[in-house]
């Protein structure tokens, strides 16, 4: 039989050979589905969309190359080993062979994901690009309770917390934070690390809801990978600013749950002692550093300031660093301490809080700002909080306060900083201006619309006149009356009809592909417009109701 002979009906070429379904893949790899899933998660293998779905539409297809890639993964062998091991333990336990079971338990096969990370992210920058999900997940788990039933262990939660705080400490130390947004879902942060925009979400520091219908095994598998990844990333980042990586923290602060503060302290302290090569234990140093500035807050400021002599910072970082320069904040009890601690230090401010382990007391004279969390302050309501991630222009709808912010920014850039006393008035002025602007704009729009309509009508009318003239030339018939009637009838609908016809006709001339594309685009545009319209109508209604109540 020649080598290339393929029996009839067994033809495997093209998509049939290139893609296999998930169950086929599981069979091919001779693993269980759960192991397959773990492998896929660790290796970052995802299903693909073949052009022709040989087995039908309701299957998940994997590329054969991906599956071969999994097949040659050493981790696969490791998983098999672990399965064998588990069987051994089970057998020993059920046979009441306690010695053997104990002995086996001390020799559990382990695996590491280091090389997988290297493989998936050949360069450090690649890992930064893919860090969003990782950070969100780790931050979420840092806020979750340990549940034995779901196999969420306390160590992992602690590890997550540690990793997330380390990351935050790095970001705040290097002033890489760019955008913060408090949403209902939590707090979004965006940092710019090595030119990569990294966005993550931290849940609000409250007891989280743990739904029952979630497969925590999958999440934990992801978490396992993410923990390793973030560890390596953190190490790399810490080394880049000449810090030792697993940072050793002041246990006292740690016990007070001021981990982030401890970390920042550690980071700053290391920065201080960089020059002098003192051979002291890290722990001792951390403690010392804590004792030192706790007595005098000025020292802490110095720490922050001293960190400010690096030349390789871009313009943005410099701006971010000096945003809260020479400002001292004090957080009240009800304020979410951790996030603000992170944000304020990231923008170069000095911060303290009410409670144990705070660097300075509320009575300190150097405090410029006290942060409280109240619905109102002397009848002034908070302005709306807007997302910094939205491009208002592209969205088609600019909220009122966004304009105000823009104006204030412009004012700040011109360095005509409003006086602290006049700030409120200014702000209101800005709002007034804004309202006027909007009214102007809408008026202009409406006028333009009217003008357009008029012009079209005029044109139409001219055309009709012309046709009339021509028509009478050809047929000297008393049809003008009928025609006029028709013209009157269609007067209202004519415009719409005209536009529609125009649209339809150009569609007729399009190729099918383009037509489909055009239609899809139109649909999305219409959807966008609808959402903007609802916003505008709501706004109108609100204004109306306000007016009626005021009158």
């Amino acid at each position: 039989m020649p080598k290339h002979y393929r029996p009839a009906g067994k033809k495997k070429e093209g998509n049939a050979a290139r893609y296999i379904t998930r169950s086929q893949a599981v069979k091919y790899l001779q693993v269980s589905l759960s192991v397959f899933r773990r492998l896929c998660i660790f290796k970052g293998v995802f299903p693909r969309d073949p052009k022709k779905k040989v087995k039908g539409n309701h299957h998940t297809y994997y590329h054969m190359k991906d599956i071969l890639f999994l097949k040659h993964e050493p981790l696969l062998e490791k998983f098999r080993e672990m399965r064998a091991y588990e069987k051994k333990v089970k057998k020993a336990v059920s046979k009441k062979n306690k010695d053997l079971a104990e002995r086996l338990l001390t020799r559990k096969p382990t695996y590491t994901l280091d090389m997988l990370i290297r493989e998936r992210y050949p360069k450090f920058i690649d890992s930064l690009r893919d860090l969003d999900d990782c950070l969100t997940m780790v931050h979420l788990f840092a806020a979750l309770p340990a549940i034995e039933r779901e196999n969420i262990q306390a160590e992992r939660i602690h590890n997550c917390r540690g990793l997330s705080l380390e990351w935050q400490a790095y970001i705040s130390r290097t002033h890489k934070l760019r955008k913060v947004f408090i949403s209902v879902k939590g707090i979004y942060y965006q940092a710019d690390v090595e030119g990569q925009k990294v966005t993550w979400l931290t849940p609000h520091a409250l007891q989280q809801v743990m739904p029952q219908d979630v497969d925590y095994k999958i999440m934990l598998t992801f978490l396992e990978f993410y923990e390793t990844l973030l560890g390596f990333v953190n190490l790399r980042l810490y080394h880049s600013i000449n810090l030792k990586y697993p940072p050793i923290l002041d246990p006292r602060l740690k016990a007070l749950a001021a981990d982030l503060y401890a970390l920042t302290r550690y980071v700053d302290a290391k920065d201080q002692t960089k020059g002098a090569n003192i051979e002291e234990s890290e722990l001792r140093l951390a403690q010392l550093q804590h004792q030192l500035p706790a007595n005098e807050p000025g020292a802490l400021m110095n720490l922050v300031e001293n960190a400010a002599d690096e030349n390789d910072e871009d313009e943005e970082t410099k701006a971010c660093k000096t945003l809260f320069k020479d400002m001292t904040f004090f957080l009240s009890r009800e304020v979410p301490r951790e996030s603000l601690l992170f944000v304020i230090t990231a923008f170069g401010g000095v911060v303290s809080w009410e409670g144990d382990g705070a660097p300075f007391e509320e009575s300190n004279q150097s405090i410029n700002y006290q942060i409280v969390d109240r619905p109102t302050q002397s009848h002034r309501v908070l302005p709306p909080h807007l997302s910094p991630f939205v491009d208002n222009e592209a969205e088609g709808y600019v909220p009122e306060y966004a304009e105000t912010i823009k104006r204030l920014q412009a004012a700040a850039r011109k360095e005509i900083l409003p006086m602290p006393g006049a700030e409120q008035d200014d702000l209101e002025n800005a709002q007034n201006l804004l309202v006027e602007g909007i009214i102007d704009r809408t008026k202009a729009k409406e006028a333009a619309e009217r003008k357009r309509k008029m012009s079209i009508l005029q044109e139409q009318y001219h055309q009709e006149l012309k046709m009339e003239v021509e028509g009478t030339q050809y047929t000297s018939l008393p049809t003008t009356e009928i025609k006029k009637k028709i013209a009157e009838d269609t007067d209202d609908n004519a415009l719409q009809q005209f536009a529609e016809d125009d649209d339809n006709m150009s569609k007729v001339a399009m190729s099918r592909k383009k037509r489909r594309l055009y239609e899809a685009m139109k649909i999305s545009q219409a959807r966008k417009k609808a959402s903007v319209d609802t916003l505008e109508t709501r706004k109108k209604n609100i204004k109306k109701s306000k007016k009626t109540t005021s009158e």
């Binding site: 992801f222 908070l382 991630f389 025609k483 016809d501 001339a509 709501r538």
Partner: protein, 746 residues
């Protein structure tokens, strides 16, 4: 102490020098050297230490001198009894304890070398030390005098001394000699080696290459002729027992191993970036997962008021389908502390996980362009004038949907057939109805004879086709009457089995001919010369099968008939149709016949009786066909609202498919002189297109949509049923299901 030692040595040396002088003649004998050296090898460490001492000192001495010093020291312990005793006694009196012992040693050193014994230098003899534990002295010398113990420092002093002196660890007390000895570096090394169980000398090679002194070469016989013993082939029992013992010990935890050194969990994985240039992946393109959507204003804890839906809107959400319902309902909180935990955070994170590993990924090109730019650039419609744009006239009178229209070749009249069973003739310019035939049955199709001098009309109605005299042209009335006269027997004469089903007969009532078919006739089309006409009987399948049990072949070929009016003849199409015919037309200039079946259009040459070509429309169901007056282009309207333009020279596939109507196209028409064509549809509109055909074969036809004509109302789901162009003017007549005929002019 060191100093003491040195001084002591110096003292030692002088007498030796003396001795050398004394024994000068005897010394340089080899034998004596050998005898002296042998104990060196075998001796204990003390002897070594002495030797080392001497070697240290030797640098200041002559070689012979050092030799002698060696020599003398080696034998120093042996002769306490000889001369030392004498001098000792003398010294003892003079000096203290220390000096006494020193002296005694001096004496010992000076003793003769003839005796090989090595013994303690102080002369207490071989007496256990504990005997003198309580005493002041530690023994007696030869003279029986007490040898006093040396003054010991008390513990505190010794401790202090030890802390002061960094070399204190080297010092040891020699109980027997009752003195403190400081070990040299070499000595400590030597001790260490001994402790390790190595050879004391550093230069001793324990693994020196084995020199086989036995001469194997000449041996004729093996040393042993015994066979190899069995034990050499079986595993050692004792070894295995030992292994078992070890295993048990390990299992019981008696033997513990060193824990493997813990490596740092994280390290610089990426190294320096320059080294990590290896190709990533495995040949497949990696598609990164799309990033989660960034939050908008509405997700804020305190959004602007307009983002919060009203109560009615929220309750309206409940009525929506699960999929359409918004996933997130914005809410407003007055302060941050009133914001509750987001109950879906774990859920959303989980969903994201699922997306990451379960969702097939594909790269999609997202084009960000203005949709208007997709519209093709069409030539300005103004340049393509004239074309029908507006409704000028309405012809009202029919009671039912007007099924068919036909224009007089001169363009003065139109005929219309309606489902109310009437055929009317209208004057185009006035809209006046000239003539009405009440036929009684729904009229499907009307067709004017293309000859202007023959104003007769073919009307299909049920199973009959009527040829009617319109009576418009008065002069040629006679000729027409002749033409429309049928002798009753002619139809029966036809020998063909086919024709038997078709009967020509005179119809007195309407002054015309009645051609009775065996099935419902849907359309009648005239040949350009006005003598032939074709009728199409589409499959009235259900009826057909029950009445005539015809074969498929017969049914199909019989579905299209060609009649010859002048001879009153009927013949069937001598071709196989391969499908159900829908309509037929004659070529405008040549003797070519087009039959459109539901799927495609078949083209026959009637003279050569040959099948020419098949035009594949690729649409669901063809409804109508029209031929360009040039004859090379065909348009086909279909029931899925598509209009196909065929260029017969180009291909059998459509040159262009225009998806114009959302509903069925009922009819298509070409203008006879202007480059216009139109399609009308059940969606109550008619499209007018510019369709320019160039004589240059390299230039493709130019098709531009010009106008959409509205006006007809929908009735029973039908819209415009027929459209025809005026033969001279760029006007379009449309017949609607609302029983109105409209004229659209430019």
């Amino acid at each position: 102490m060191r100093k003491d030692g040195k001084k002591l040595k110096d003292d030692d040396l002088k007498p030796i020098e003396k001795e050398v002088v004394v024994n000068g003649s005897e010394v340089p004998s080899d034998s004596e050297d050998g005898s002296v050296e042998s104990p060196v090898v075998s001796d204990d460490d003390e002897s070594f230490s002495e030797g080392d001492d001497s070697s240290r000192n030797s640098d200041s001495e002559s070689e012979s001198g050092s030799e002698h010093s060696d020599f003398s020291e080696d034998e120093d312990g042996e002769n306490p009894s000889n001369e030392g005793g004498l001098s000792d006694g003398v010294d003892d009196l003079n000096q203290g304890d220390q000096s006494a012992s020193d002296d005694s040693r001096e004496v010992v050193d000076e003793s003769d070398s003839s005796e090989d014994e090595v013994g303690p230098r102080n002369t207490i003899g071989d007496v256990p030390l504990e005997w003198y534990k309580e005493e002041e002295h530690i023994g007696y010398d030869v003279a029986g005098k007490k040898i006093k113990k040396k003054e010991r420092l008390d513990k505190l002093d010794s401790f202090l001394a030890r802390t002061d002196d960094s070399n204190s660890w080297r010092k040891i007390t020699d109980e027997i000699e009752d003195e403190e000895v400081e070990l040299t570096k070499e000595e400590t090394k030597l001790i260490r080696r001994l402790l390790k169980g190595q050879a004391p000398h550093a230069d001793f090679d324990p693994h020196a290459p084995y020199i086989d002194w036995f001469a194997w070469d000449g041996a004729k016989h093996p040393l042993s002729n015994a066979p190899e013993p069995k034990r050499r082939f079986i595993p050692s029992k004792w070894e295995s027992k030992k292994v078992v013992r070890y295993i048990r010990a390990i299992r019981k935890g008696l033997i513990t191993f060193d824990k493997p050194k813990e490596e740092p969990r994280f390290y610089n994985l990426w190294g320096d970036e320059s080294s990590s240039t290896e190709k990533a992946g495995h040949g497949l393109s990696y598609i990164p997962a799309p990033k989660p959507k960034l939050p908008g204003h509405e997700e804020s804890y305190n959004p602007s008021l307009e983002y919060i839906p009203t109560q009615e809107e929220i309750s309206a959400y409940q009525l929506m389908f699960e999929e359409d319902r918004p996933k997130f309902i914005p809410k407003r909180f007055t302060s941050l502390r009133s914001v509750p935990a987001y109950e879906k955070s774990v859920r959303e994170s989980f969903d994201r996980c699922l997306d990451l590993y379960l969702c097939p990924r594909a790269r999609k090109k997202r084009i960000n362009i203005d949709p208007e730019s997709l519209k093709p650039k069409l030539p300005s419609r103004k340049d393509l004038k004239p074309y029908p744009t507006t409704c000028y006239l309405e012809y009202k009178g029919h009671k039912g949907p007007v099924k068919s229209l036909s224009t007089d070749p001169s363009g003065q009249y139109i005929a219309s057939g309606s489902l109310d069973g009437t055929v009317r003739i209208w004057e185009v310019e006035t809209g006046r109805c000239i003539k009405i035939w009440e036929l009684g049955e729904p009229v499907h199709h009307v067709a004017w004879n293309p000859l202007p001098e023959l104003p007769i009309l073919a009307v299909s109605m049920g199973q009959d086709v009527f040829i009617l005299n319109t009576g418009i042209e008065k002069e040629e009335h006679k000729m027409i009457a002749d033409l429309l006269h049928v002798e009753t027997s002619t139809a029966q004469d036809d020998s063909e089995s086919m024709a038997s089903a078709v009967s020509w007969s005179q119809c007195e009532r309407y002054e015309g001919i009645r051609i009775k078919h065996f099935k419902t006739v849907s359309s009648v089309e005239w040949h350009r010369k006005g003598d032939y006409f074709s009728t199409v009987m589409p499959a009235d399948i259900l009826g057909c099968f029950s009445i005539f049990t015809l074969t498929c072949f017969l049914r199909e070929s019989k579905a299209v008939l060609i009649h010859l009016l002048s001879k009153k003849l009927t013949q069937r199409l001598p071709f196989k149709l391969h499908g159900l015919p829908v309509s037929s037309t004659f070529h405008p200039t040549r003797s070519i016949f087009f039959v459109s079946t539901k799927k495609n259009v078949r083209v026959y040459d009637l003279v050569k009786k040959k099948f020419i070509k098949k035009l594949e429309a690729g649409v669901r169901e063809i409804s109508s066909i029209s031929i360009h007056p040039g004859g090379d282009n065909v348009i086909v309207g279909s029931k899925d609202g598509k209009l196909c333009w065929f260029d017969m020279d180009l291909s059998s596939k459509p040159y262009k498919i225009l998806k114009s109507h959302p509903k069925d196209i009922t009819n298509v028409a070409f203008h006879r002189t202007y480059p216009l064509f139109a399609s009308c549809s059940d969606d109550c509109t008619a499209y007018v297109f510019h369709g320019m055909v160039y004589s240059d074969l390299n230039q493709n036809p130019l098709i531009v949509p010009l106008e959409i004509l509205h006006g007809h109302a929908s009735a029973n789901g039908r819209g415009v049923l027929d459209c025809k162009f005026h033969p001279r003017q760029p006007w379009l007549f449309t017949a609607g299901a609302d029983s109105i005929i409209k004229l659209f002019c430019h």
